[in-house]
């Protein structure tokens, strides 16, 4: 009896999400699955083509190959860099410095501009050939390339933009740092532990749930990054497909070339790729993520 009451309570709390899932999310997901087996130009009814879209994807689409490569490069570079940068700054900004409010706000401003129409113009100011970044490198005697516009480097400017907007990840880290009970540090200090030891033994383990969250979410979001590439390249994914992130190509196929069936098939391939990565993360998490609730 008690057990059923608990079940009831679980579903009661889950109810809002369940309703939304069944009413608004499930239908469109099934529809997109169906569309992936069709040829659909948005204007006329979809035509069933079986596995043709999937076959083309794997055998005859050089843009898709380019775009998968670019996306992997972007994800593998930007995720660790962004997380490391955000964690470092969160720790730095969590020190007992004066004017912390002010600094935390300053550092968040780039993330506030995320959806701003001005971002592409702004970004060019930083990463153009004679932009701010190269002028800074110039101080150290390094001559930087045109980051945005050179096909060999353009993906790095995307990575740069992603790291630049590290604000939300940093905030989640800051919130996580605040959850670490203060008396643990006090006890450790009594035991004579130094800064690094306290960080390694207390901060890091207690932060693992938040690190795990940030890692998983940043990974998923990076695979789906669209706006940055769209804005930086003016919607082209150029030069020479060097910023053609997967979602940008998917959008191009679906809405610009009006091949929504093909785009849907691409979406399901992406889902499979992300699911594999996330699945691996979840499987390994039991070895390195520590929950205070005992890990149930």
């Amino acid at each position: 009896m008690q057990r059923y009451k608990t079940y009831m309570a679980g579903y009661a709390f889950l109810l809002p999400w369940l309703i939304g899932f069944l009413a608004l999310t499930l239908g469109p997901i099934i529809a997109s699955m169906y569309l992936s087996f069709t040829q659909y130009d948005l204007l006329t009814a979809p035509k069933w083509v079986g596995l043709a879209n999937y076959k083309t994807m794997f055998t005859d689409d050089f843009r898709l190959t380019d775009s998968v490569q670019v996306t992997f490069k972007y994800v593998l570079l930007s995720v660790p860099l962004k997380l490391a940068f955000a964690l470092l700054l969160a720790i730095l900004l969590n020190q007992g410095l004066r004017m912390l409010h002010f600094y935390r706000t300053i550092y968040y401003i780039p993330s506030l501009l995320g959806g701003s129409v001005a971002i592409s113009v702004l970004w060019k100011q930083v990463f153009d050939q004679d932009g701010l970044f190269n002028r800074m490198l110039g101080v150290f005697g390094i001559e930087g390339p045109a980051w945005i516009s050179n096909p060999h480097y353009a993906v790095y400017s995307l990575v740069g933009l992603s790291v630049w907007q590290f604000g939300s990840v940093m905030i989640i880290f800051l919130a996580g740092l605040k959850q670490v009970p203060q008396e643990l540090y006090e006890a450790a200090t009594v035991d004579g532990a130094g800064i690094l030891r306290k960080f390694a033994r207390i901060t890091l383990p207690l932060l693992t749930p938040v690190i795990f969250f940030n890692l998983t979410i940043t990974l998923i979001q990076s695979f789906q990054t669209f706006t940055k590439a769209f804005v930086i390249s003016g919607g082209t994914g150029g030069p020479i497909n060097s910023t053609l992130l997967y979602s940008l190509y998917l959008y191009m196929k679906g809405f610009t070339f009006m091949e929504m069936g093909y785009a849907s098939a691409m979406a399901w391939l992406l889902l499979a790729i992300i699911a594999v990565f996330t699945g691996v993360l979840f499987l390994t998490s039991r070895f390195w993520v520590f929950y205070s609730d005992g890990g149930k």
Partner: protein
């Protein structure tokens, strides 16, 4: 089986779930409570109108100058036609076609839709209304150049009415010509003149200044070039040029790039000429770029330098200019319930003298000769450059019936990719052109 059916079915089943859950009435169902405040606010926001009237929706993109003028024209029409109201659904260009595609797919598109050069991607797919029955009745196109009507015609059905005439053009920065002491070209110039001029400007003005953008990626310039050597980009389901033409084309630009006369690859990508705010012509660093003629006012607004328009250079077979084309159309959604009123408003937009005076050249040069003449007196300096240029193109362009490449967006992207592979030295001209030709054939197959 169509998607909408599937979606509705899923939706229906979900509603059953919703209803079942709502029946329990427990304290966790905050979903029901949530709907009411927003519902109240939205119903108060939308004005309630009497049911008898005909209500039309019209979608267009633009910036606030075009919004202002179009709304004024609509207000005038509503005054003259009591019983018809037109709601403007206007926005910037970003996302305009994404929204339109979504609306068409869901069967909810506006009655009147502003379209650009991509009209043929929509025509013949049951989404636009055939206007033929109204032409000569409600819609008077007597004053239009026949080619403007042909542009919107597919399989003997007419899908749009031209709102503004434009033409492909070379946009130049006259102040830079002056500074370099080089005479501004005339419509008689040739590709040899072009090479000399851009080289002179680049040499005279020095480092960081260029005679022209690299136009090898520009399909309008390519089309004109092919015409000027007696070939054609596209006609009746086939291309009418060969590999050698493309090799010549890319070699022309490659040579100019090597001699520093045109913008190098990296600078071109960082400052694409297609983006008005990034174009180096505005900054006085590049003297020539390709543009649609009606864009001149957008460029001119951002700089104090004097800008001008000139036709593409001539080749061995003379001018390859394409006659002036429709920059924008007004089209009707095939699902409209008020096609007669829609047609009436279309006619008003292009033929009413008062509407013409209000709208000016916000969508390009007015297609009706009468309106154009009545406006000539009151045009701004920039408008006058545009009007003169359109007349010039009408004179010099050979009398051919221009046909656009059918999947134009994809063709443009392919041309740009090929051009970048060459300019960034990723591929040789020969191998890049080979790939280009085989991809073009794939596009032709897709368009069939």
């Amino acid at each position: 089986m169509n998607t909408r059916k599937i979606v509705s079915l899923t939706m229906l089943s979900s509603f059953l779930v919703l209803a079942a859950c709502g029946g329990n009435g427990n304290d966790n169902s905050n979903s029901g409570a949530s709907a009411s405040p927003s519902a109240g606010a939205s119903s108060s926001a939308s004005a309630s109108q009497p049911a008898k009237k005909v209500e039309l929706r019209m979608a267009w993109w633009g910036s606030e100058e075009r919004h202002e003028k179009t709304l004024k024209a609509i207000e005038l029409f509503e005054q003259n036609n009591p019983g018809i109201t037109i709601t403007g659904e206007y926005s910037g260009f970003d996302g305009y076609f994404d929204k339109l595609n979504t609306q068409i797919a869901a069967g909810n598109a506006p009655d009147l839709i502003q379209m650009g050069g991509n009209i043929k991607e929509y025509a013949g797919k049951n989404s636009l209304l055939d206007l033929k029955p109204y032409i000569g009745q409600t819609i008077n196109l007597d004053d239009f150049t026949p080619s403007l009507v042909r542009e919107a015609t597919v399989d003997d059905k007419v899908y749009g009415v031209t709102l503004g005439v434009s033409s492909s053009a070379l946009l130049y920065n006259a102040s830079m010509f002056n500074k370099a002491g080089v005479a501004v070209p005339t419509e008689k110039w040739t590709y040899d003149d072009f090479k000399t001029i851009v080289q002179q400007i680049a040499d005279k003005l020095g480092d960081g200044y260029y005679g022209s953008y690299d136009l090898s990626s520009d399909s309008a310039t390519l089309a004109s070039y092919l015409g000027s050597v007696g070939k054609e980009l596209y006609r009746d389901g086939a291309i009418h040029f060969d590999k050698q033409d493309m090799v010549n084309w890319f070699t022309l630009w490659s040579d100019l790039r090597k001699s520093g006369a045109v913008v190098p690859a990296e600078t071109q990508v960082a400052n694409p000429p297609t983006a008005v705010d990034k174009s180096l012509i505005v900054q006085g660093k590049v003297a020539i770029q390709s543009a649609s003629a009606s864009q001149i006012s957008g460029f001119q607004a951002l700089t104090q330098d004097q800008l001008g328009l000139i036709t593409f250079p001539n080749g061995t077979a003379g001018s390859g200019m394409v006659p002036p084309i429709s920059g924008q159309f007004i089209t009707a959604y095939s699902g409209t319930k008020h096609s007669e009123e829609v047609a009436k408003f279309m006619d008003f937009l292009v033929n009413d003298p008062e509407a013409g005076a209000i709208l000016g050249s916000t969508r390009g040069v007015p297609p009706s000769a009468k309106i154009r003449d009545s406006l000539a007196a009151s045009t701004t300096a920039t408008d006058k450059v545009l009007y003169d240029y359109i007349s010039l193109v009408s004179e010099v362009a050979p009398d051919v019936d221009y046909q656009q490449f059918p999947v134009d967006t994809e063709f443009t992207k392919l041309l740009q990719l090929t051009s970048e592979k060459i300019s960034f030295d990723v591929a040789s001209i020969d191998s890049a052109v080979d790939e280009f030709m085989s991809e073009v054939n794939k596009l032709l197959a897709k368009a069939q």
